[in-house]
Symmetry: D2
Subunit: 401 residues, 4 copies
Amino acid sequence: MGNNGAGVAERDAQRVYSALDGFRIEVPSWGFANTGTRFGKFIQGGAATTIEEKFSDAAQVNALTGASPTVALHVLWDLPHGRADVPAIQALEKKYGMKSGSINPNLFQSAEYKYGSIANPSAEVRGMALKHLLDSVAIGQALGSKDVSLWIADGSNYPGTQSIRKRIGWMEEVLGATHAALGEGQRMLVEYKPFEPAFYHTDIADWGMALELVRRCGPKAKVLVDTGHHAQATNIEQIVTWLLHVKELGGFHFNDRKYADDDLTLGSIDPYQVFRIFHEILSAEEKERADVAFMIDQSHNLKGKVEAMVQTVAMAQELYAKAALIDQAKLAELQQECRLVEAEECFRSSFWQDVRPIVREWRVARGLPAEPLKALAESGYVEKITRERESRNARSVSTYA
Amino acid sequence: MGNNGAGVAERDAQRVYSALDGFRIEVPSWGFANTGTRFGKFIQGGAATTIEEKFSDAAQVNALTGASPTVALHVLWDLPHGRADVPAIQALEKKYGMKSGSINPNLFQSAEYKYGSIANPSAEVRGMALKHLLDSVAIGQALGSKDVSLWIADGSNYPGTQSIRKRIGWMEEVLGATHAALGEGQRMLVEYKPFEPAFYHTDIADWGMALELVRRCGPKAKVLVDTGHHAQATNIEQIVTWLLHVKELGGFHFNDRKYADDDLTLGSIDPYQVFRIFHEILSAEEKERADVAFMIDQSHNLKGKVEAMVQTVAMAQELYAKAALIDQAKLAELQQECRLVEAEECFRSSFWQDVRPIVREWRVARGLPAEPLKALAESGYVEKITRERESRNARSVSTYA
Amino acid sequence: MGNNGAGVAERDAQRVYSALDGFRIEVPSWGFANTGTRFGKFIQGGAATTIEEKFSDAAQVNALTGASPTVALHVLWDLPHGRADVPAIQALEKKYGMKSGSINPNLFQSAEYKYGSIANPSAEVRGMALKHLLDSVAIGQALGSKDVSLWIADGSNYPGTQSIRKRIGWMEEVLGATHAALGEGQRMLVEYKPFEPAFYHTDIADWGMALELVRRCGPKAKVLVDTGHHAQATNIEQIVTWLLHVKELGGFHFNDRKYADDDLTLGSIDPYQVFRIFHEILSAEEKERADVAFMIDQSHNLKGKVEAMVQTVAMAQELYAKAALIDQAKLAELQQECRLVEAEECFRSSFWQDVRPIVREWRVARGLPAEPLKALAESGYVEKITRERESRNARSVSTYA
Amino acid sequence: MGNNGAGVAERDAQRVYSALDGFRIEVPSWGFANTGTRFGKFIQGGAATTIEEKFSDAAQVNALTGASPTVALHVLWDLPHGRADVPAIQALEKKYGMKSGSINPNLFQSAEYKYGSIANPSAEVRGMALKHLLDSVAIGQALGSKDVSLWIADGSNYPGTQSIRKRIGWMEEVLGATHAALGEGQRMLVEYKPFEPAFYHTDIADWGMALELVRRCGPKAKVLVDTGHHAQATNIEQIVTWLLHVKELGGFHFNDRKYADDDLTLGSIDPYQVFRIFHEILSAEEKERADVAFMIDQSHNLKGKVEAMVQTVAMAQELYAKAALIDQAKLAELQQECRLVEAEECFRSSFWQDVRPIVREWRVARGLPAEPLKALAESGYVEKITRERESRNARSVSTYA
């Protein structure tokens, strides 16, 4: 169970190096901006308010971790003029050595979407939503971005106020039309979520509903798993396994939570669960998992924005490294023979192994700082952006006031 | 909002009569037997211990409610000799004027199923499970029963101890072979459940997994919804709507719960939810809902067995009658126009309407007792069976001791 | 079980009249203002933005229902200048024939409260919080308002980042000092909530913690139950019963929810639960329940503000009337004899009774409109305020943007 | 963050040695017996069926781990003749070098307790329950055992069927009388649980209710926390902190769960939570935690009985060692300054540290096997008891059949 011998240490190092060399996790532009709860935002002096600031922060995270070369863009907030903003984005890509990642339409913020977007009873509103989706597809093509990530916030707050059934049909139409517009190499990822902002029914509430919709759309549509979007006690790694099995897993929005969609930093509440999810992915065949996109979707209400993102990527790397250490052959044998305690010990032995020394070595070997958070602190980056941006960042605002 | 006018009253009566004339809900043989929790059983003197007693009790429920002419059979407990027991069952059908309903295999009780039945790593155990399933299909055919209801209790208790992925494949094989054996007019219903008796992962944990499996099996396989088998806060009526939409809803196991799979009597904890489920079913086209089987699956640990079953069927009738009263045309209009408060009031106005007087009239018109529970009390049936059966019913037994 | 006889009808009417004559439920000023989720607000043209508009709307609700003569005030939003605003409030009380209800301090919105208010590690911030609490007490005294309602949003988002233990001590100090400032006839009500806006630990997370704190404060401190502030499946009526038993129940914030603190309209998701809560209150001795304050705390994101409030008060009246119909003597007897099914039928028979006709009669007898929602629609009030206020109401704002 | 220097390693070793030298966790006699779910038991050939076998198994666990010198006794199952069985138990204590631990009355299994034990409406049944409690106290005195552990399974399954309020009063009487009988040095620990076997209301449902009851009983009554007895998402370590703060924490029943009271092995689902609980205990002053009893309460349905218990104790030791490594002084400073990310990293750095090498050294230094599970496998103990006991262990039994 230990890692005493030199052979074992060598093997472990190899597994970790190989895993981390292939590990990429996308950071979201909105993760650097001020966010909050419905009760208010605690404004951070160094929060990004322009798309250039978001690129700068994302580049900083990538420089320290080597794992996040792409940044997810939010159409409404980052490309307010739609395709017209593409050249500016491309200039920022060049300037900061980053690539645009997934394109995220916004179908929840406009007043028109009060009763839904693609599931709104009004054909006019659905048309408006479709237009925004098609614009997003076009932006993705122009930027050479692979994925359009759809989070549909639609739903209703009270029983009887909407026809759940009719809304399914309306979604099928709009999503189908969106799929038809996808270019070569493009995908659309469909996210599910049980509640919030809708409180009685959410039109795409679980993986089963998302799966039905992507199946009906066609081969370029896949399911997106946000780890915070499940009912309490749901076995998320099992859903991941099923989606791998049916070849419909498009990617992840990673975060952690204790209650609802708390959008906390990855692994901060239940790190063993993340380890188990990574295990299921690493157990799949390489070609199956090749197209699974890893993305972060968190809301750092209290933690420093850049600091939280660096912490998250580093944590993801370490948990991924732990999962890579599992002795798959031995585990398979113990599972087959139903030697429960031995299988469990084999499995979690890798979770207990302290991978930080190996990961540190890997970082140095790849020209990265040995300790990303320490390097961030020493870089003075946060102090610098805080000085520069502070005046633009106003004080706390409540959705209630 | 009221039902003042004679025209309204007439219309309401018509709706309720029509709904109740078509309403059937199957009672389970095991609902009359002693059951309990893992901490013990509180034995009831009048509990049924033979299949004849179960038929007798079910017939009594049907005589009082007019809605439960079929009784679900449990292969292991009711037909311990398999097909050889079919003639005896047929004699009981004749004697008690009841029909055999769904056939329920048992894949959880034998020691061989400790690590699973159809998802067990052992090909031998899977073969044993398949054999039992095929026997159940044959029993169903012999009895002219339409549905074989599969509840697969398989799963694991600890992360890492089993390969979730491989077990999917094994299930597909066994279920596929079972489907292949179904005769003309036969169906297999696949149930899902998030946990218990497995505590880490259950192989068929939610409707999405059940749906994938029945799709792969073929057209005679459908999903079975047990209302107690969902994570907290799950919107069950939405799942029902989706299953209707994709034409894969096979039927229900009705019961209620506050926490887990508590198997309480229908509507005892959240009657408004049952009303909403019935509404989704009644909103579907007639041919869509024609094949949806309604079954009761409850565990009456404390309530009197026959009394609880009569209460359940009567409650089901009343909630179904309420749902039938909804003004669908008006509701659709209000929903389309997003007049939320009006739509909600239109919807729940039928829930608030006291249907007991109309249901009472319907009962009398159909030659049934006006008040089933009162009629049961006056019949002396429970006292009679208690006298007859008491000596065979032993005292409390704990799974712990 | 029916209400056939004239005697029964007479008795029922008496019970309902007596219950409704004594039923008061306070409306919150913020229930008429624009609110939303963290993803944005859908601005309503008729939403109130001034304290006068809130008084006007509250008075309208009271005029239609006869049950809400007081309006809860939020210090930060309604009395931005603290005690200096008291005369203006008093003028509005007079003008609109309403009284100020509970006084609600705000300890969550200012940037200083990022890491907590009364549980903040900084003595300076705790001092600031205490000052606001003392101001609130003084406002309450000046207005002749009985209750200061404390919702403490304090907590932390990540394990290890705060000392849960030390924060208990800090809260005890500040709450004790607040209690010491309460005048004759004043009370402080302490609310609890499991999560949001804090996502790992909330300093006052459940009724047990709130009870410990009010006990330590002294006799003028009581526990406030918000029906939306419990973990899934919590038996709320049992908590209510315990608080009545130990004489520490101060009052309620009523609302409904399916998932988290959804702040939906009362009884919209689980009306049977509200009935059960009312039953426990009505089962207590009159002097025990005399001081239990009923307040509404909801967030009408989609429903019309005034419409939703009228609907809520009307629903509360009807569910309270149902609970008042329970035959307490008979129920007690059946419970004592453990005649379960009979007790349950006795209990819920009152829930099934359609009380709307009696409540309508009571309304007319008390000079109120027979149907409050219909009367609101016919009054043209909402159209009028929408015309007047629309220009001041801006469009949707997201906490994310 | 690392443990590079020799000084650090020395300090860590000291902390772990000191922690483990003081760490004791009691094993339950029933943990070695056959148990199951309501769907059946999977009988184990080596399961203990006599009290001597249980003592033997417990002694084996203690021999391998050095941490479990006491065994919890269940009055009904282990001392069926009450005090008359004390001499036999004392002989076993001597023979196996073990001491009797907590005494566990059984108030849930007898038919008389169908509607409750100490909260039963029948004074006669309550008297019977009190008698059993007094017998248990006497047994504890005779055995020199400190704690009588009360798990009260009382509750009701359906709203309206019992008076929640009256049952509180009845519990107060019986528990008060039990407290009065406690001898010098004896304590009674009162456990709480939200549901199962009762499904609507459980009379002692949460820590707040347990706390009220022990307060009313007197100074020898304390609260017992079973880690599996909470609603989903409850912050258990916060409850532990509050109970420490008010000096009413009596002890723990340790286990793990994903859904309900799954009684899985400690740390198997959420090891980080156990670490956090241990941290709160280790943060308390020594005299506060001196009297906190650690006990295991698990149900090993699938895992080998002795194997699972050894695994549990070893896991508890390792997680306790991790918690002991936390740099409390530094953590307190970071928490005070609200340096969130740094505080979190300081905190969980100890969780990530691989303590297995130090724990292994400690074991050897204390004359224990370096790897308890391996030592168990090599000892042949399980094979031996299986041979000896197998014939007495029957096959699977379902509570349903």
